[in-house]
Every structure is written in structure tokens, then in C-alpha cells.
Amino acid sequence: MEFIETLLNGLSIGSTYAIIALGYTMVYGIAKMLNFAHGDVIMVGGYMIFLTMANIGNPVLGLLIAVLFCVVLGVSIEKVAYKPLRGASPLAVLITAIGVSYLLQSTAQIIFGSAPKMVVVADLGNLTIGSLTVPYYMLITLGCSVVIMVALSLFVKYTKTGRAMIAVSEDKGAAQLMGINVNAIITITFAIGSGLAAFAGFFMLMKSPSLSNTLGAMPGIKAFTAAVIGGIGSIPGAMVGGILMGIVEAISLTIPAIAPYTDAIEFLVLIVILLVRPSGILGKVRREKV
């Protein structure tokens, strides 16, 4: 029973990582950049949920407002900070992304102060079946994540826009020759990634109600790690990598001797996997084109 509880915990942590990792991997695949501000969009989503809970008290409305705000924020960040750098050196884009990350964290600190806020999204209790006890938030996280991942996979495979995203990620020039507006596809990608970040913020606050301006920092780095483990640029890879990270984390936390080193163990997994498969579990080994 304990093992099943650990596994479910791992799946719920992992699906949160996967949802964040999707944002990293899709933006990387399509805009060929690492959006290091992605984790901080989660934090902004968290504050939107906090504001809604404090003023209206409806968690579903809070999630909705957070998603909308993060979509607008993500698209604006892309327009203002990244779009002018299209074609610039990758280092310039990277340093800009780090700058945006600090800008978001500092702005949140100025507005909301540095003391953590308590955001009790909902007191849901546990589901008990025999000797198995599972908190409801885990099931909600898992259920929502599965729906999101299935919907996203179907969207990419079966819609015109989704296929255009694959085309842009494979060959931007050839995609333009098909009549695809690459800038519009990049905007849509940022919108999807940022909306998913708001969901991740919601999942995280359900799990632990403490909210500060660095809420997204560590999960952001771990989800980025998950995206790299799965193969950066690959959507199924982000899902696999996220779930793997979550399960490693949950198991490690139950073993007293290694529990304090859980973060280190997760990054160790990254190192081991990259040693064996440098392009990640589902990453493409790209052939050099002549």
C-alpha cells in the first residue's frame, strides 16, 4: 500500500513537472530558445490564484484567471523581449530570458512583499480505500495532467495549427514555403506553454499552500531537467522525463538515508541519462545535413 501511495505521489509530482516541461520543450522546439523565465510564469500564475482566492474565494475561477493572465504575459514577453532578438546570437536570447526571469521575480516581490503568502486553494481531504490513503489533490493533479497531455498530443497531431507547429520545429524555412506564418506559430506556442504554467502553479499550491516570488524557480529548473532527460524539443519526451523525475523524487523522499539529497539525486539521474543517451530518452539524433 505504501508503495502505491509513493507511486501516486511520484506520478502527481511528475505530471506537474511534465506540464511545466512541455512549455520548455515546445518553445525550444519551435523558437529554438531556452525560455528561462518559464518557471517564473508559474509564480505569476500562483499570485493570480492568490488574488482570486483572497477576493472571490473560488479556486476554479482562480485557475481560469491565472491561465488567462499567464497566456497574455507569456505572449507579451515573447513580443517585447524575444521577438526583437530573432536571428541574434543564442547567448543574447539566453541572457535576455534570465533577465526576464529576474524582472518577474523582482516585480512580484515589489508588489506582494517578500514574506510568503498562504494560499489554501481548497481543503479537499483524502480518499481512503481500505488501507490506501490518497489525498484528493493528487488525483486532481493526475487527472488534469492526463487530460492536458492527451489533448495536447491530439492537437499537435490532428489540427492544422498543430501540424504547422511540427513543421516549424523541423524546418522553419520550409514551413514558410508552405505559407505558414512562423511568428504566429511562435506566439501560439508561448500562449500554450504559459497557460500550462498556470496549471502547474495551481497544482503546486494545492500540494503546498506557501507562495513566494521564487515559487517557480526550483520546479522550473527540475522541469527543464525533465525536458532534457526526455529529449528537448520532444513533446512525449517532456512527459516521460517529467514523470520519471517525479517518481525518482517520491521514492527518494521515502528513504530516510537519501531523502535530504533528493534534489541532488534527481540531477544525478540527468547526468546518468545524458551519459548513456546524449540526446535524451526520446530525443532525435539529428543527422548532419550537407
Binding site: A167, D171, L177, M178, I180
Partner: protein, 236 residues
Amino acid sequence: MALLEVKDLQVYYGVIQALKGISFEVNEGEIVTLIGANGAGKTTTMQSIIGLIPTRGGSVIFDGHDITKTPCHKIVHLGMAQVPEGRRIFQELTVYENLLMGGFSQNDKSAVKQDIEKIYTRFPRLGERRNQIAGTLSGGEQQMLAMGRAMMSHPKLLLLDEPSMGLSPLLVDHVFEIIKDFRDDGTTVLLVEQNAGKSLAISDRAYVLELGQIVLSGTGAELAASDQVKKAYLGG
């Protein structure tokens, strides 16, 4: 009336001038070929016409529109398509999905499906392999796919960049037959080729490009007979 009019086109890569002000035109219903050696600026010309690389000077008029500064995807919607050098099919998508991408600018879903069936009729190999991942096709099949994909948008003007490159002699002949078919079906063709002999044979008119400048022009037959072309491009 000229369908495509290129006037004094100038393109730079950094400080290097790749096109030193070239002018030419393509009339409706023609096959026009640009021949030239490696590095003459043929691919640069093709990519700058369709808006994939920015121009520094001159103008491009297509079907009455000034498209000099128009982004590539809008030019495609105006009725121009290109089979790029190296084909650049979407390796990870199936044959069918590649053709769907070719029809991206079309809004009528059922018409796109019908067009795909027509492509399968024209290229039976593609029909047989419709669900195969395009990256696993042979070079010849990939070229057919790239040409079929470009025709999916019903272009008024088709730009073909080195369509015979890397193909066996038999397939090269087949490609030139297809180009003639396209023209006979009403598509105007601008062709870039290193195979000067075969391309001049099917061309209404042709231009010779050397180091970013047009040095010679005439009908396909005139150029094929010119000593200068014979010496430099037709092997004596």
C-alpha cells in the same frame, strides 16, 4: 504580361554582395531557367524572390503585387510556391502529412483531400507510401514528394531549385518530363539548374548567372547554341 518581374535585385550576406543587381522576367506560361556555376547566386535569387532572405535593393513584382518586402508566407498565399534546394521535405511527417502541409494555404479541407488524391494519381509511388515517414523515402521519391507538396497550393508560379540534383539519370529525365507537364497544365515555372543541357532543352527562355550578375540571356535554343554556354556549361 510578365507574371514575375525582378528589377535590379541586390542581396548581401554580411558585407559580401551575392546579387549585384540582377533583372529578369518570367511571362505567364513560360519555363524560364537560370543556369550558372556553384556560387553564381542561383539559390540566393530563388530565396530572395519568395522572401526567405531579405533584399538590400531592387524590386520584385509578382502578378501585379510589389512583393519585395512581403514575408514569405504571404507570398505563398499570393500564388507562388518553391521546391527548395535539397527538397527539405518534413522528414518526421508521413507522405500524406507532407502533402497536407503543402495545402496549408488552402482553406477548403475536402478540396485539399481531392488534391492529394490527384497527386497520388500523378505520382503512384507516393500513393503507395502515403503513410510512410517521409524521411525513409528514397531520394527520387523525396523529390516527387517535394514537387507534389509544392503543387498542393495551386501556384501560378513554381520555383524549382535544382530539382535534378542527386538523382539517377533515369529519374532526371522523369523530373524534366514532370516540369513540362506542370507547364502544360498552366503553371509558370522558374527553374534553377546545373544540368544546363536538359534544362535549356525544355526552357522557353533562359538567363546565365555569373558571380551575382546576369551575363547572357535568350531563348533556350539560342543559349544552347551559344559558344559561351557550350564552353562553360555544356562540356564543350
